[in-house]
């Protein structure tokens, strides 16, 4: 935790410096007759962030904040596995949206989570992972008139059938 605290502060400091630098694309000072320039607001706020990270680093050195005193690891073996399985699962879910449509990706993700991670019965995992996307489809496409990504063109036949039901 102690190492993590200062690394996090350093990353945030780097982010503040990047945002300060990026803000200077626009005027960061006061323009007579026009008010503060477009970059002033984000620039000075990022500067305050930078000051905050310095104070956090100072507190870290004096060991006043709880994470800077803790000797626990940031993530133990179980935590790492959880992050990899769940976080990785969501990552794959999002990556598949443009390939097999958001509905297909949703079904796969639900099945993966329910059957593989949740160890639920196969029939339950299958029912939920098939029924949920269908419910979402009718809620979004029919009721709310919001179209969600359909992925590549090979998914068309499935959606044509579903659209025939709506229209």
């Amino acid at each position: 935790m102690r190492l993590g605290e200062i690394v996090t502060a350093a990353v945030l400091a780097a982010l503040s410096i990047y945002m300060m630098w990026k803000s200077t694309d626009l005027n960061i000072g006061y323009v007579a007759g026009k008010g503060p320039g477009g970059g002033a607001w984000p620039f000075w706020l990022s500067a305050i962030m930078l000051v905050c990270t310095i104070v956090i680093a100072f507190n870290w050195a004096r060991r006043t904040s709880p994470p800077s005193r803790s000797t626990e690891p940031v993530l133990d073996a179980d935590g790492r596995r959880m992050l990899l399985q769940v976080g990785g699962g969501i990552f794959v879910f999002v990556a598949l949206i443009n390939v097999i449509s958001i509905y297909g990706a949703m079904a796969l993700f639900l099945f993966y989570y329910l059957w593989f991670l949740g160890r639920h019965a196969l029939w339950l995992a299958l029912t939920i992972s098939i029924a949920t996307p269908i419910a979402f489809f009718f809620f979004f496409e029919a009721l709310m008139r919001i179209t969600l990504p359909k992925g590549m063109s090979f998914t068309d036949p499935v959606f044509n059938v579903l659209y025939d039901i709506i229209y």
Partner: protein, 506 residues
């Protein structure tokens, strides 16, 4: 007396069978739209606006008002049961609603939210009926310096009373404010802070992307990590007696938050450009500040659910006031309603009250009726929401992730935002581990688009002289209160130091 006569006429109009049916359908639809992360009252009203062209204008606006009310109630449901704010107006409801649900008191939180919403709605309608025209003028006297001072006060309530690590809280606020400024400079129109030249940043960072990332993904990962997945969300069972007991507890513990939210929410709601979100956040801050035990807020205090919920309902009625009396919408939803009114052939503005009294009072009457039906429908759906919570966590968790991803997409229709949400979620998980409070960042990204232009306009008015925030009477008072709140924790630190040295010397 004339007002009472018109109002009773309006109530009579609202309880026509067709209008009652429209209210019931509208409230139910609104409840589910509001409960869906990523969709709020704006979506519901915008999507269903065309349907209303089939019925007379008075029935149409009654239907839309019912959706609006339903969505205001519904936003709290996902905040409490899933921990994801259903809409920006319900961000503050997660602060205490979620901890209550985790303690197994989800039913208390839901009942409190419903009742507070009802009280807030009722108080605001009464205020609306009594003071509509004079208040419209007060609201107009709020210029940019006053609104910026109000924003400052909202941030101050978070810094001054956070109690957490102060530099981390300030950092979180600034981060949210900077993220809010991504996209285009609102005044000059120049592209600004387009990180790494990625074009997706040109449309800015939608607050929902950050909110869903933080609450839907970051919090969930954190919960899975800390509980090792052995979480039973709630043991609550719903009975009629349980609802009665919760109602009693809600009035005993949350009457203060409810009254603060009802009044403060209304006044913030009528300010043009402010609306329900700042109203609910400020009411939460004030309730916490004046609470007998400020530390219990954020850990599951029903008062912390009641204040923002009463406020967001109260503010949504308040926001109707400038719309009807001046033709200035106070929130995105009222802007759409305004558009609808124009299409129906009505001219909003000062003359509406005299030219179309039947329409105006029919609308106000429908507020009363929809508010009542929203309470009844909401309370009757609570067992369903509780049942959802009793699902095993290994079913609930993937559902929440799916809702988050879909909500992140539906908010802006851009895959860029879904990826961004995932990055925010993972970052939030780690920041949470190191005690960075993230609620202030979400608060800041919502208020940033109000705070920045008002600051710049004020400085433009005063040709760069910051004393404008002190010399105007309303702005000055608010600014001074905000500064005192920011300095409070500093005084505490100094006092502790002094006491420490006294002890050492004694």
């Amino acid at each position: 007396m004339e007002i009472l006569e018109l109002l009773s006429h309006g109530l009579f109009l609202a309880i026509q069978p067709m209008n009652i049916a429209l209210i019931v359908v509208g409230v139910t639809l609104g409840l589910f739209i509001g409960a869906m992360p990523g969709l709020g009252s704006v979506n519901g009203v915008a999507i269903l606006l065309p349907i209303t062209f089939l019925v007379p204008p008075a029935s149409a606006i009654i239907f839309l008002a019912a959706i609006y009310y339903g969505a205001m109630y519904g936003g709290a449901i996902s905040s409490i049961t899933l921990g994801i704010p259903g809409a920006s107006t319900a961000v503050a409801t997660t602060f205490d609603g979620r901890p209550l649900a985790l303690k197994g008191r989800a039913s208390l939180a839901l009942v409190t939210a419903a009742i507070a919403s009802f009280v807030g709605g009722t108080v605001s309608i009464l205020l609306f009926t009594a003071f509509a025209p004079p208040l419209a003028h007060v609201a107009l006297s709020f210029g940019p310096p006053e609104i910026f001072a109000l924003m400052l006060l909202a941030f101050a309530t978070f810094v001054g009373l956070g109690g957490d690590d102060i530099p981390k809280t300030v950092l979180s606020i600034c981060l949210g404010l900077v993220f809010a400024s991504v996209g285009f400079d609102q005044i000059s129109g120049a592209p600004r802070l387009v990180f790494f030249g990625i074009s997706g940043f040109l449309h800015g960072i939608n607050f929902l992307v950050l909110a869903i990332g933080v609450y839907g993904i970051g919090e969930m990962l954190w919960t899975l990590d800390t509980t090792r997945g052995k979480i039973t969300s709630t043991e609550a069972r719903m009975t009629f007696a349980g609802i009665v007991a919760d109602t009693r507890e809600c009035f005993a513990k949350a009457w203060k938050g409810m009254s603060i939210g009802s009044f403060l929410g209304f006044f913030v709601g009528i300010l043009p450009a402010a609306g329900a979100t700042p109203g609910s956040l400020m009411s939460y801050g004030v309730a916490k500040m004046t609470g007998r035990d400020p530390d219990s807020y954020g850990r599951g205090n029903p008062d912390g659910v009641a204040a923002p919920e009463a406020a967001n309902n109260s503010a949504s009625t308040g926001a109707m006031l400038p719309m009807l009396t001046l033709g200035i919408p106070g929130s995105p939803t009222t802007a759409i309603l305004l558009g609808g009114m124009v299409i129906w052939g009505l001219t909003p503005g000062p003359r509406l009250f005299t030219d179309q009294p039947e329409f105006v009072w029919g609308l106000i009457g429908s507020f009363y009726v929809s508010n009542f039906f929203a309470l009844v429908i909401n309370l009757s759906f609570i067992p369903l929401f509780i049942w959802m919570l009793r699902m095993p966590f290994t079913i609930l968790a993937p559902m929440i992730f799916v809702l988050s991803v879909v909500g992140g997409y539906a908010a802006t229709n851009d895959m860029h935002d879904v990826w961004l949400m995932l990055i925010f979620g993972i970052s939030a998980f780690f920041l949470r581990k190191f005690d960075y409070p993230l609620a202030p960042a979400v608060l800041a990204i919502v208020l940033g688009p109000i705070a920045e232009p008002t600051l710049r306009q004020s400085l433009l008015l005063s040709s760069g002289d910051p004393s404008i925030f002190f010399t105007r009477p309303i702005a000055g008072t608010i600014t001074v209160i905000a500064i005192i709140l920011i300095l409070l924790p500093l005084v505490g630190v100094i006092r502790r130091k002094l006491r420490g040295t006294n002890k050492a010397s004694a």
